[in-house]
Symmetry: C2
Subunit: 343 residues, 2 copies
DNA sequence: TCATCTTCCCAAAGCGCTTTGGATTTCACT
DNA sequence: AGTGAAATCCAAAGCGCTTTGGGAAGATGA
């Protein structure tokens, strides 16, 4: 069923039917009702393609997921973020189109999306330090919004980010307050902007507490369970082991816990752990009282909000780019406690 | 830059340029070269929208992700599956469009996708027992392929599935061979088809070994870490605790391990564990030698293959629906060992 | 040399929608 | 009754592409 057939069956012109369906005023209430009922009865939906051609809009948002060619990692965060964004899109009648793409091709992909007029805007995932994509997109003139930020690029652009720096500074402060001094950081890859900022927060707190930054207490890598485990085991075996560990991901934190327990130590007593928690739906941090003390910020919420921001920017391109900094909550769980006294 | 402009700048008709670019034979090699170079220089890409309108193809595949309204779970598998499928799509010039959708709206979504001619086919995720979507799609006449199967629907349709039944039967057999008799199953939600089949495999092995099925040894739920932990703790506290546990997800298996170790037991010695491992990129099961003995099958591969199948079906609709049953490998790791002797 | 194929290219129609620029009817008001 | 405005509706153009149905030139064979 297409417009032509529908309008013929109603004895009206395509113009009138189109207008009736799109809420234009030049059509009588009675006719509009009649049209709407028929459209419903025939289960008529306008072709996105044709509509897009006629209006010049795509009614679609692109998500470009970089798949670093070296480490074929899909970000575990991704599913929840997408779920949040998807909600927003369907509420606004937009579609989400996804491109999984090797790092190298990204430039082409953006240009392709733009010149094929496939999307009205894009979401940028996983920004790195000095990420070249942002400059590229600004030049392309394709509306975009970034999940995170890219240190080193100073033109304004739309982003939404967790305040990673303050979250990790606060978490470190919290551990200092508990009496810990040797505090380790098990971080994500520090080319990633978020990981860089977390380290800054950590370092700032150390500095504020007159504690030297000890490279032996810092790890950076792909945030798997095994990575958390190995890092922790290594550090606990040194003769100057940490009494507290800051961890960038709940998945790695599971490995951290394993290493601690394997050594016969008790988490929250012998070694305290604070982790960042993205509130992923399939990885809940315990029940009402969290297992891990955590800096918490819902990635799904972030998806929802960032999508709103992008749609708003598309609706009114004259608006200055929005920026949103979310503060993570510090939730105290069972994994932290006072620093053990030296006997 | 559009076709018209490009052809004008070349002094050719749109017809010729279009044909040159699409590999039709009615154009001289010299002209084709000239056209291709110009297209490249101007970074010309045909509008997907217009192309789709003209050809009647969408050049897009829809993925509809059900988000059960009760438990707002995003399947952790999802990211990796999508990554695999995305690879295939971009290789074939297709786009992937994603709809995150509450269970109730699914029917509408499929009809909408069909009548808006937004996609050439869809992938069905997370089939449940007697899943109504399959019948619906067969009636709609929208090409589709299912990741998994739906017991209870007996018309032929295209699917790709891991042989969950044989995998879990084999894993259970393996534990029997090691001398275990009290073998527990920590399964996913058994409305999900895959979980149902896994239980069948488990039960079949018990039956073959003349061992009664004990409901006290079976758990079914959302496969989180905490679920694995609680289930295991409960069972280990009973006076007739299992000596081996079969687990449906690596995430839950982490919780299983935690419960075992918390009780002062050693995994692989006091309690053996076999888990299913979807080979998720962010959740690796150890290094060369896996930590967990596991039935292993890559979800990303599944994505790749299922996408191929769907594209093939779209390319030639007369083909009978393909079915693919993947066998999981049983990888022996450190988490299994002979049953402890009763002292 | 003329008729007949090939080869290479083009004009125009059509995909399903929106939107512009009227045309017709109705109505209120002089 | 006559007039202008308001209310409804419509025909046709246009979005950017593919594809049908030729047509002009050059190559081939008798």
């Amino acid at each position: 069923m297409n417009l032509k057939e529908l309008s013929q069956s109603l004895g009206l012109s395509q113009t009138t039917v189109s207008r009736a369906l799109n809420g234009y005023p030049e059509v009588s209430p009675a006719t509009r009702r009649r049209v709407e009922e028929a459209a419903n009865a025939f289960n008529y939906h306008p072709s996105t393609r044709a509509k897009g051609l006629a209006t010049g809009q795509a009614l679609a948002i692109g998500h470009v997921i970089p798949l670093s060619s070296k480490h074929e990692m899909v970000n575990p965060i991704f599913g929840d973020f997408i779920a949040g964004a998807g909600e927003t899109y369907s509420r606004h009648g937009y579609e989400m189109i996804l491109s999984i793409v090797a790092d190298a091709d990204e430039r082409q992909i953006y240009q392709g999306l733009k010149s094929r007029r496939a999307v009205d805007g894009v979401i940028v995932h996983g920004p790195r330090m000095d990420d070249p994509r942002i400059g590229l997109l600004n030049n392309l003139g394709l509306p975009f919004a970034v999940h995170g930020r890219a240190s080193g690029y100073d033109q304004p652009y739309a982003w939404l980010d967790v305040n990673n720096r303050s979250a990790f500074q606060r978490a470190t402060d919290f551990l200092f307050d508990l009496g810990h001094v040797r505090i380790a950081l098990i971080n994500g890859l520090e080319v990633m902007d978020f990981a860089h900022r977390r380290r800054e927060g950590y370092s700032a707190s150390l500095l504020a507490h007159n504690t030297p930054v000890d490279p032996a207490l810092m790890r950076s890598g792909e945030m798997t369970e095994v990575f958390g485990y190995h890092s922790t085991r290594d550090m606990l075996e040194s003769n100057n082991a940490p009494t507290a560990i800051l961890c960038s991901s709940l998945i790695s934190a599971l490995g951290v816990r394993r290493a601690i327990e394997e050594k016969g130590l008790v988490m929250g007593k012998d070694v305290s752990v604070v982790t960042h928690d993205d509130a992923l739906s399939y990885l809940q941090n315990g029940g009402d009282v969290p297992i891990f003390t955590a800096t918490r910020s819902s990635v799904r919420d972030a998806g929802r909000k960032l999508a709103e921001m992008l749609l708003a920017a598309i609706a009114d391109p004259t608006l200055p780019p929005q920026q949103h900094l979310l503060e993570a909550e510090l939730m105290v769980g069972f994994s932290t406690g006072p620093a053990p006294r030296k006997d």
